[in-house]
Each structure stands twice: as structure tokens, then as C-alpha cells.
């Protein structure tokens, strides 16, 4: 048993942390959010240079082929910085789905392009007026080989060079120019409506040996890690605030109620963090990683909301002032809650995967 990080994992984590400190200051994120900007495309170049776009891509396709924990640490640090980007959608979700397909030249070409940063492949899955019942339930019918239809709550669709769509018989890669995208307003972050009107889809990527939901196991883990990183930051902010904010002549952290908000946050964070780490290990070592990935992701989704709520209790009014920065994390806690299926749905999947 060894729950410490390897040297190379520490190195990766620290390099992402330095990137975030250098390139994504919180003030800039606050400014972007205030200006209605969704993300900064310049980061994509930097991500590709660092190899993170290919973190989960096999070395044979030019990727880093990282173990799941190393990949999770990248996302943990991005989450800690509340960095908005299509990286999760393209380099984790789509890469997972592609790796779940049968081998083909088309597949490897896409993986290679994702790794080198020339392709941002966004999965466009969610159907309007439908609950999430897994990837397989999102398939669109083709009419005469043409794709027509609408997908909603597609993350970072405006950043896409291509979309990944489920259709009867497999997955289709559709150039972004062939679709129209529209940002959905409100509290949700970077969610879009994507409309396809009679798009020719060409050759399909055929399913592999396991279901697409299984293929998303690593994506669930890194998505959860992103939320864990956000919780870590909210904990640090809350502890700091409880120590510096003085009311009734004393730092508010002396009040048991304030302490209890922080303890709720801590517990939510640690529960998610260790579920993520163990799930990453389970996948790496071949121990029901699918079931554990559902556990990690559903725990992180629930925890992130609990943590954000607790952080808001600690901060009171200033926490709701977007200039302060806490709301960046609050918004993420909500926006990612159902990105890979609701926690309830994920727990049902977990029960099945556990073989109960």
C-alpha cells in the first residue's frame, strides 16, 4: 500500500499548478465571466504544447498515454484554478469514447489530431426533453445518411473543431462548420445548443467491445478530479476567510457554526478526493474501475454542491459578489453536476457494475 504520488505525478501536478498561476489568474477569470466570455482559446495552444490535450491518448497516436491518476491530477489543478476549457470534453470524454470504438484509421487520426491540438472534438450527446439514460440513449437517426437534429447542453461547443455524435451503428465525427451553435444563457457555464441540419456523416466509428458508458470511466474520474480541485480551493478560501474576517471582535473561525461549515466542506472534499484516487488506481490495476468511476463521479458531483454551499455560508454576502471569485466555483459545481449523468443515475450504474 502506498497512497503517495509518484515523482512523475508530482511533477505533472506542479507543472499544471504553475501554468494556472502564471496564465489564469483569478482576476482574469472574473473579468471573463463578467464580460460573458466563455474561455480563452490561447490556452489551447499551451495545453497542446504541454501535451495535456493528449494526456489520455496512446503514445502510438502521439499522446502522453498517462495513467488515470496522472490525468486526474492535471484536471484537479485546472479545477483548483477554475480554468474553463474544452479539455475535459475533448481530451477526456471524446478520447474515452474513441478508445471505446473498434480500431480504425479514422479513430487513430482523430486521436492524433486531438493530441497535437489541431482537433477539439466535443461530444454532442444530450437530447432535448430527455433525461440522461446513458450514451447509448443519445443516438440520432440518419435519414439517407444525413444527420438532422438538435443536441443540448453541449459543453464548450463554440470551441469545437468537430463534434462527436452517436448515431445508429456507431459514432460520427462531424466538422463544426456543419453545425450551428448557440450559447445557453444563465447560471450554467459554457453550455450550448448544437443544431445539425442534414449533415453528411460519412464513415462511422464502430463500437468496440464495451459499452460507451464504460468507455467514459476515465473521463468520469478526471471530471470528478476537476471538481475535487475546486473544492480544495474553496476550502483554502474558506479557512483563510474564517481567519481574517473579524466579527464581534473575533475571527469568525472561532464560531462553531462557521467551523461546521468548513468541516462540511472538508468532509465533502476528502470523500470525493479519495474516491477519485482509488478509482484511478482501480482502473490502472484492473479492479472494477467502471463501478468505482461511477462512485467517484457521483460522489464528486454531490460533494461539489455541498462544498460550494458551505463556502458560501462561510463567506456570506461577499461570496455572492462575483468579483470575489467564489462564484466561479459555485457555477462549476452546478454546471458539471449532470455532465456525465446525474449522481442518482450514476449510482444505479454503479450498482450494476458492482454486480449486485
Amino acid at each position: 500500500m502506498d497512497l503517495s504520488l509518484s515523482d512523475s505525478q508530482v511533477l505533472i501536478r506542479d507543472s499544471v499548478r504553475i501554468f494556472v498561476q502564471r496564465h489564469v489568474p483569478r482576476a482574469e477569470l472574473v473579468r471573463q465571466a463578467g464580460a460573458g466570455e466563455v474561455w480563452d482559446p490561447a490556452w489551447q495552444t499551451l495545453f497542446a504544447e504541454a501535451g495535456w490535450t493528449g494526456a489520455l491518448v496512446p503514445a502510438s497516436c502521439g499522446g502522453l498515454e498517462l495513467d488515470p491518476l496522472s490525468a486526474a491530477l492535471i484536471f484537479e489543478e485546472l479545477g483548483r484554478g477554475a480554468v474553463p476549457s474544452p479539455l475535459l470534453a475533448s481530451s477526456a470524454m471524446s478520447v474515452g469514447l474513441l478508445l471505446g470504438c473498434a480500431e480504425s484509421e479514422q479513430r487513430d487520426a482523430a486521436l492524433t489530431a486531438i493530441a497535437d491540438g489541431t482537433m477539439i472534438l466535443i461530444p454532442a450527446l444530450r437530447q432535448p426533453a430527455s433525461s440522461w439514460k446513458g450514451v447509448a440513449a443519445t443516438g440520432s437517426s440518419l435519414v439517407d445518411g444525413l444527420l438532422t437534429g438538435v443536441k443540448v447542453f453541449v459543453p464548450f461547443a463554440a470551441a469545437a473543431t468537430h463534434f462527436l455524435v452517436t448515431v445508429e451503428g456507431g459514432l460520427a465525427i462531424v466538422p463544426a462548420e456543419a453545425a450551428s451553435v448557440r450559447l445557453l444563457g444563465g447560471f450554467i457555464q459554457a453550455a450550448y445548443e448544437v443544431t445539425f441540419s442534414g449533415v453528411a456523416v460519412g464513415a462511422l466509428l464502430r463500437p468496440g467491445a464495451v459499452s460507451f458508458d464504460h468507455s467514459l470511466s476515465v473521463a468520469r474520474i478526471v471530471a470528478a478530479a476537476y471538481q475535487v480541485g475546486g473544492m480544495m480551493e474553496m476550502l483554502d478560501m474558506s479557512v483563510a476567510h474564517s481567519n481574517t474576517r473579524v466579527q464581534f471582535g473575533t475571527p469568525i473561525g472561532r464560531f462553531q457554526r462557521v467551523q461546521d461549515h468548513i468541516i462540511r466542506l472538508l468532509n465533502a472534499m476528502d470523500a470525493a478526493k479519495w474516491a477519485v484516487y482509488e478509482a484511478a488506481w482501480a482502473i490502472e490495476s484492473g479492479r472494477n474501475g467502471v463501478g468505482r468511476s461511477y462512485l467517484a463521479c457521483s460522489t464528486a458531483c454531490d460533494s461539489a454542491i455541498e462544498a460550494a454551499n458551505a463556502a458560501h455560508e462561510v463567506h456570506a454576502a461577499i461570496g455572492s459578489d462575483p468579483r470575489f471569485g467564489l462564484t466561479l466555483y459555485t457555477r462549476i459545481s452546478r454546471s458539471m453536476y449532470e455532465l456525465l449523468g446525474s449522481p442518482g443515475w450514476q449510482r444505479r450504474q454503479m450498482a450494476d457494475a458492482m454486480g449486485w
Binding site: 463578467g34 444530450r126 432535448p128 426533453a129 430527455s130 433525461s131 440522461w132 439514460k133 443540448v152 447542453f153 445557453l184 444563457g185 444563465g186 447560471f187 450554467i188 453550455a191 445548443e193 473579524v246 466579527q247 464581534f248 471582535g249 464560531f255 457554526r257 462557521v258 454542491i305 460550494a308 454551499n309 458560501h312 455560508e313 456570506a316 454576502a317 455572492s320 459578489d321 462575483p322 462564484t327 459555485t330 452546478r334 454546471s335 453536476y337 449532470e338 446525474s342 442518482g344
Partner: protein, 423 residues
């Protein structure tokens, strides 16, 4: 027990008068949610005009004494007025003047005759809108820790300092506030309460956009809070209400009003919209409400909202019947806040990401769900955080071997007047 309001023939007659007047005077679109700042401002002007018209009738502040421009009406009539305005999605005063409501309460209890004559009529007739200026950057829950000073200089007090998380958009005509009048004095005995003209030189305002921009019950996306700076602001000494260094006691009057709310007997409008949404919207090819899981979640939500409604009803009745309250106001405030925060996740679980967007096509409940997601968070804190509400509840219950406190500590006369104000 009787949980419904029953009406006398006199009340029903008054209702006729009210509905007829409202039909004739309430402009169209006054309960509509504005989509731009311009629409928001136009709506505000409509409401101000309506408020002034109500003021002329004495119906803007129906419980206020007639001699000061109020309606001088009894509870029987006030209840009818509130019901009929609520039916139109309004309220009394029509939502834009919670500051006037609370400030007037303090002035009625603590003001001199001269002050009542000067300050109350503009409020009661809708001539002015008032904001409360309490919180400072370093004094939120710890209101007695304010730093803004008001130093006597002849016939005026000179104000310096700042207040934060104030009011909303479209400005106000009056500010009431507390400030330190005796910088060397003891805590709670060094502050005074003032009613100030917002146009006094030296006052500047800076907008502050929160996660939830709305305030004062508005479903208005385009609003904001404010930071208000006082830079050598000279306020006439006769604007001090309740005596120098007596401001903490004066504040206890409006804090009681604010913390406790007045109770109400309305069904939560978010619930109404949620149920309607689930009945009419399709998901997976059937109305959401036919999905057993959704049904169960709805039942759970309803159960928790009913607890809040029932305790609000209890409070309403206690005020109505002149019962002495203790923990009741803060309990309901605490439950309402915590339930609304819980509700954000419950609705999210029930409706999915449709609850997170205000998009015209996909936003659930016409965008009300998305708004509730933000407001459920933001509204934890104004008017006493959930932590502070629990401080009050514990004190009122007499937990910790302290003498159980009554609500407000206003004394009998104050209590009676307050009840009248709040009813």
C-alpha cells in the same frame, strides 16, 4: 382551529371597492419579468406611479395613521388589500420600498411628533423610495461593529464612511442608517439612527453586481446592489431619530421586522411554477409528472415547502391575533433560507440542466428555475444570515441558561405598534 381567512360582509364589500380600483388603475404588464435594463426601468416607473396612486387612496401603507398619509385601516381591510394585490402579482407597498416599510416602523416607534410629520407622509404616499443602509465591509452579521461616523458639528452631523450591499437599481430618495456618534462610547451605546435625504452632497454610489441581481422581491435580472460612500456629508441634526447614541434600540425595531418577516399565507410561487412545469412539460415522451421518480421528488419538495408555508401561516396568525412571538420569526426565516438552498439541488435533481439556464427554449419554468438556483444561494445572507438567525432562536428559546427573550424588546407599546405596522 381555522386555517383559512373568513370574510365579513364588510370585508367583501371592501374587496369590491379594491378590485374595482385595481382593475381601473393597475397598468398592464406590471407583473411581467423584464428582459432588458430599459424594460426594468420602465417597469419601475410604472410601479412608482401605481404606488403614488395607491398612496393617494391611503392603500400604499394601509396600516399607517391617516394623519401621516397612511390608510388608517384595520387588519380586516389590510388583509383584503394584500390578497387582491397579491392576486395581481404585486404586494403592498408594490415591492420597491421594503426600506420605507422598515424605516417607517422605526420612526413610528421612536420618532418625535415633528419627525413623524416630516418623514412618514412622503413614505406613506409613495412620494419617496427609501433604502436601509446598515452593512459595512467590516460589519455584516456584527452590525454593532459599524465604523461609519456621524460627528456632531453645530446643527449638523458630519458623516464619513461607507455602506455595502445596499438597495437595488434605479436609486432611492431617502436613506436611513446607523452611524457611530460617540467613537469613544461603549458598543451598542455609541450609535445613532438617522433618516437622510439621498441627494445630500458628499454621498456617492457605486453599483455592485451580485450573483443574484434581484432584490426586494423583484424577478428582475438587471438589478444590482450598491456601495454608498459618505464623504463629509452634512446631515441636519433633526434627522436623528430616537436620541443620540440610542440607535441600537431603534435598530432593534426594524431588525425585528426584517428578521422575522411578518408571516404570510401565500403558497411559494416557485412551487406553483414547478408543479405546472412538471404537469405540462414532456420528458422522455410523457409529462414529467408521470415519471414515478419525478413524482417522488415533487412530493418530497412539497413536504419541505409546506413546513415553511405552515410556519409562515402560524407567524401571520400570531401577528394577526396579537400573540407574543419569541423564536418564531427567526425560525421561519432560517427554515425558509435553508429550504430554498436545499431546493436548488432538489429542483436540479428533478429537472436536470434545464434548471440551470434561462434560455427561452430550454430554461425550465420560464427561467424561474434558473433564477431560483442563484437566489437560493444569495438569499442565505441578507436580513440576518442563517447563522445569525440561529443565534436569535437560541436566545429566544432561553438556551444556555439565559433568560428567554421576547421578540424585539420593544416594550408593550412598541410591540403593539409593531404588530400594527407589520400586519
Amino acid at each position: 382551529m381555522e386555517f383559512e381567512l373568513k370574510y365579513t360582509p364588510a370585508q367583501e364589500a371592501f374587496r369590491q371597492e379594491v378590485t374595482a380600483w385595481l382593475a381601473a388603475n393597475v397598468p398592464d404588464g406590471v407583473a411581467v419579468r423584464p428582459r432588458t435594463f430599459e424594460e426594468s426601468y420602465a417597469l419601475y416607473l410604472k410601479k412608482r406611479a401605481l404606488g403614488r396612486a395607491l398612496g393617494v387612496k391611503g392603500w400604499l401603507y394601509p396600516s399607517g395613521e391617516k394623519e401621516y398619509g397612511g390608510g388608517g385601516l384595520g387588519l380586516d381591510q389590510i388583509v383584503v388589500l394584500e390578497e387582491e394585490t397579491a392576486r395581481l402579482g404585486l404586494g403592498l407597498p408594490p415591492y420597491y420600498d421594503s426600506g420605507g416599510k422598515m424605516g417607517a416602523a422605526s420612526i413610528r416607534v421612536w420618532g418625535t411628533e415633528d419627525q413623524k410629520k416630516r418623514f412618514l407622509p412622503p413614505i406613506y404616499t409613495g412620494a419617496v423610495r427609501s433604502w436601509q443602509l446598515l452593512t459595512e465591509p467590516t460589519a455584516g452579521s456584527d452590525l454593532a461593529g459599524i465604523k461609519m461616523t456621524a460627528i456632531r458639528d453645530g446643527d449638523v452631523y458630519v458623516f464619513n464612511g461607507q455602506k455595502i450591499y445596499i438597495g437595488s437599481h434605479h436609486g432611492a430618495d431617502r436613506y436611513w442608517t446607523i452611524a457611530v456618534t460617540d467613537p469613544k462610547g461603549k458598543r451598542h451605546q455609541n450609535v445613532s439612527w438617522f433618516m437622510i435625504d439621498s441627494a445630500t452632497p458628499g454621498i456617492t454610489t457605486q453599483p455592485l453586481y451580485m450573483l443574484s441581481a434581484q432584490s426586494e422581491g423583484e424577478t428582475d435580472e438587471f438589478g444590482h446592489k450598491n456601495i454608498i460612500f459618505f464623504d463629509n456629508v452634512r446631515v441636519p441634526a433633526d434627522c436623528l431619530v430616537g436620541g443620540e447614541n440610542n440607535g441600537w434600540k431603534v435598530a432593534s425595531t426594524h431588525l425585528e421586522v426584517e428578521h422575522s418577516g411578518q408571516g404570510n399565507i401565500r403558497t411559494n410561487p416557485v412551487w406553483i411554477a414547478l408543479l405546472a412545469h412538471c404537469r405540462t412539460q414532456m420528458r422522455d415522451g410523457r409529462p414529467i409528472i408521470e415519471d414515478p421518480e419525478a413524482r417522488e421528488k415533487l412530493a418530497e419538495i412539497y413536504s419541505r415547502l409546506e413546513a415553511v408555508r405552515l410556519l409562515s401561516t402560524r407567524n401571520f396568525w400570531m401577528v394577526y391575533a396579537g400573540e407574543k412571538r419569541s423564536y418564531h420569526g427567526s425560525q421561519t426565516s432560517y427554515l425558509r433560507k435553508t429550504t430554498n438552498l436545499w431546493l436548488t439541488k432538489a429542483i436540479h435533481d428533478l429537472l436536470g440542466p434545464e434548471a440551470l439556464t434561462s434560455d427561452a427554449l430550454y430554461g425550465a419554468m420560464g427561467g424561474i428555475a434558473e433564477m431560483q438556483q442563484r437566489r437560493g444561494i444569495v438569499e442565505q445572507h441578507p436580513g440576518g444570515t442563517t447563522d445569525i438567525q440561529r443565534v436569535v432562536i437560541a436566545r429566544r428559546l432561553g438556551v444556555g441558561a439565559r433568560e428567554p427573550q421576547q421578540a424585539g424588546r420593544l416594550g408593550e407599546e412598541g410591540m403593539a405598534r409593531k404588530a400594527a405596522v407589520e400586519a
